[in-house]
Symmetry: C2
């Protein structure tokens, strides 16, 4: 019998959040380290989370008239250079192909860190009239950005994402599109991922390289830090000018298009791990859990076969009800090992099925977590009502996690008006504070506290006064969220 302690215990969150995170992602078999520094292998248990997230987001993207396409991975270096701010922002992260087919290339190729340039080049070719607008494209792809301090899911040299790219006739249309995409992200984040994200706009210093305006959804992790979980950019005519994306308007004059881009990535998985996890390991929201319920059959000898058969029957009934169910039939490990294993791997509901349960026509149900009241008690549920009961349990679990995330964020967010209050707030959570809007002042705050402005919340109350740091008059007309961030 394999001993449970080493394989399933993770460093407690409170002791070392970073070590806890690493323990969870590797021991839960979400990922492994790739052979190249900063690279990540997404293992089946982690990739399934991504597939579930993809399916939901892709549905939203298609339902609003966007079409998927695929653009080349390798981008001529000269394209990257055409938009000055863009290349300045991304050049330090380039992976560069210099050789192909045994020869040195005339022009080096950049492995895409993002696709505005190559898609801009194609848009210029495809758009000629106002009748071609809006052009609403999306791509699911891998992107590469050199990373010195890798962190699984959050910062790796390669990650998976979708990138929406659209072109419009007017700035108003493009801004509306930018907000539509932000809405997808907020709905996905607060819906299936059960995060407590706040949508808002980035300050100029935090904008995407080449954007006029950048919007974000910011989530709070259980160490109080912020995670940017999706961004949407209004480019104005910056890329249209660089790539010649023009259209002939109804009046017959040539005009530059207004473009947008927006992306959500595998980083989101890091966000949900750090939002819901606890000292026992991973906690998965049911909507994104590869297995929503795991059944552990119990019994020795002849009884083992009887309970295993019953477990398979129960799993089939649950699967027919749309519940992703797994039967842990490993003969070589004990029930206790399995309980610890699936607890660490974050499965929302566990069902135990032993000979006595079977005789009573019941199974013992345990929830991975309960909130606000702790409730570790196992509960006997009738087998024939299990599909119905579990459907309700999973919906309740999903809602419970979402509520827990909101409560946590609210408990760890402080409205602050003095510098000492600010430094206390950002040491363990978020500060809502007024700011002068000057970059130098942002930089000073960051140097001193490691906190940066995460966003100007869209639904923030109007507020004015003096800057939390330099006491100049405040900008933006409302408070900003400041936090240390991933």
């Amino acid at each position: 019998m394999i001993m449970a302690r080493d394989e399933h215990s993770v460093t407690p969150q409170s002791q070392d959040f970073s070590a806890w995170y690493n323990d969870v992602v590797f021991r839960a078999e979400l990922v492994d380290r790739g052979p190249v520094r900063g690279s990540m292998v997404i293992r089946p248990y982690g990739y399934r989370i991504w597939e579930l997230l993809q399916a939901d987001l892709d549905g939203r993207i298609k339902a609003t008239g966007h079409q998927n396409a695929y653009f080349p991975l390798l981008i001529p270096q000269s394209y990257m250079a055409r938009e000055a701010e863009h290349v300045e922002g991304f050049a330090p992260e380039f992976f560069t192909v210099t050789h192909a087919g045994g020869k040195e290339l005339e022009e080096p190729l950049i492995v895409r860190p993002t696709s505005e340039t190559i898609i801009g080049e194609m848009m210029a070719k495809w758009i000629s009239s106002y009748r071609d607008l809006p052009l609403l494209l999306n791509q699911w792809a891998n992107v590469l950005r050199w990373e010195l301090r890798p962190r699984m899911f959050l910062r790796t040299s390669e990650f998976l994402w979708q990138e929406g790219h659209t072109a419009h006739a007017t700035a108003a249309d493009a801004v509306a599109e930018t907000m539509l995409a932000l809405g997808f992200y907020q709905d996905v984040a607060t819906g299936i991922a059960a995060l407590a994200t706040v949508p808002g706009e980035k300050t100029p210093g935090e904008r995407f390289a080449g954007a006029e305006r950048t919007f974000t959804i910011e989530a709070m992790m259980r160490d109080g830090r912020a995670l940017q979980a999706g961004t949407s950019h209004f480019m104005g005519t910056n890329f249209a000018a660089a790539f010649g994306i023009t259209f002939t308007g109804e009046s017959g004059t040539a005009e530059l298009c207004q473009t947008t881009s927006w992306g959500m990535s595998t980083r989101m998985i890091g966000g949900l791990i750090m939002t819901h996890g606890d000292d026992k390991g991973l906690v998965l929201p049911p909507d994104l859990a590869p297995y929503q319920a795991v059944i552990v059959p119990i019994g020795r000898g002849e009884q083992a076969q009887t309970t295993l058969t019953a477990a398979s029957g129960l799993a089939a009934a649950l699967q027919r009800a749309g519940i992703r169910t797994h039967v842990d039939d490993r003969p070589q490990v004990s029930p206790g090992f399995k309980f610890n294993d699936w607890e660490m791997r974050g499965v929302p509901i566990r069902l135990e099925l032993g000979p006595r349960d079977l005789a009573a026509g019941t199974a013992l149900m345990s929830r991975r977590l309960s909130y606000p009241q702790p409730d570790a008690a196992k509960q006997a549920i009738p087998l024939d009502a299990a599909p119905e009961l579990l459907t309700a349990e999973l919906a309740a679990f999903q809602a419970m996690l979402a509520r827990r995330a909101v409560d946590f964020r609210e408990e760890h967010t402080a409205v602050v008006d003095t510098w000492p209050e600010f430094t206390v707030a950002v040491a363990g959570g978020w500060a809502l504070a007024l700011h002068c809007g000057e970059q130098a002042c942002e930089d000073e705050i960051k140097a001193e506290t490691a906190a940066s402005p995460r966003c100007i919340p869209l639904d923030g109350e109007p507020a004015q006064g003096t800057c939390i740091r330099c006491v100049k008059p405040s900008a933006y007309g409302k408070r900003l969220i400041f936090a240390r961030a991933y």
Copy 2:
């Protein structure tokens, strides 16, 4: 009003098959050329075909216990070199990253041309006991292979595919897996793609670099050439030995795993274009058609709005019945332009809806193609029965294309026993011939006729005799398919 002729006419197949193909892929807006030589942009109309194919194949892969995962794009050069035949086969096609983060890398990285090596490295880490087997993985990914003579979908420097990679305890298990995957491909090809593929084994000279045995499905294009539409490889212990993929058996001894890999790619789209297309352009099998039916509302002035409203209502009814339907409501082009456009773009069923049709409660239906009898007649169908009728029409259209492909292949395949017959057969189709099995002889045949052995058909009748070329005794125990190939 835009003139139709130039935009919709394609070079006739019989006149220049290659020019016909290029006309179709670009004018139907399946793809565009990327900025880098040999690169391809997959436009929404082409990408949707891929998504439909992916969904079907992914379902088959998952239903048989395989799990999706994701492995890094960049592979250390030293990994590629560990299996001698593998590196020899792929090195000429490498794209090489030499710089990252502004510095030259200590070891160059290869942009994956296929992932046996990096997945082999991870398998070695994950597998320790016979209980870990079989390990059944699949990845949907982009791969890059330098291409001097690019051809859209068929040979491009980057393409999309799935690559299955599995590890087993015994050779028998691994061979069974190899055949299971080949079965996926044959089912997808003959099912949703309506191709007339022949499953078979490759001769040693045509094997995947590093494989013990390679299986393929070979399709016949309408110029008589063959297209390899999916391959499945039994690796034996070649990669296990190179990467140290071992397991401890039940008896406690360490053994090498037996591995497989198998892939199907966007090349399949080229295969269906060249199997079903005709002089008017693309013909899409309904199961893979982005739009299965297109409705063209007809009428001027006030009537235009009336028929457009009716067309939208009809489209909604068809969509509810699961039919992918598009209403062509472009005001700036004529109905005739639209008819030609959708014909060229291969939509299986067209519906015209004019004021007179509407008054009669009908729509005029045209099929893109009929076989074996030509049938260009439009047919009035009652609007309220349209969902039911079109569901049946689409199924019949799918079956018709599959039958047409089989008939075409059979008409263009000859059983040959003399060299003159052979050269005639491979000039316009396939030859079924006996062969001695020697590489030098294969090479001679290829040099003289451009034909190569495509496969040893799995269901070929036993046959023996003398080689079609050198008159030595035949090998393989059956006839081989020889053809010029893409």
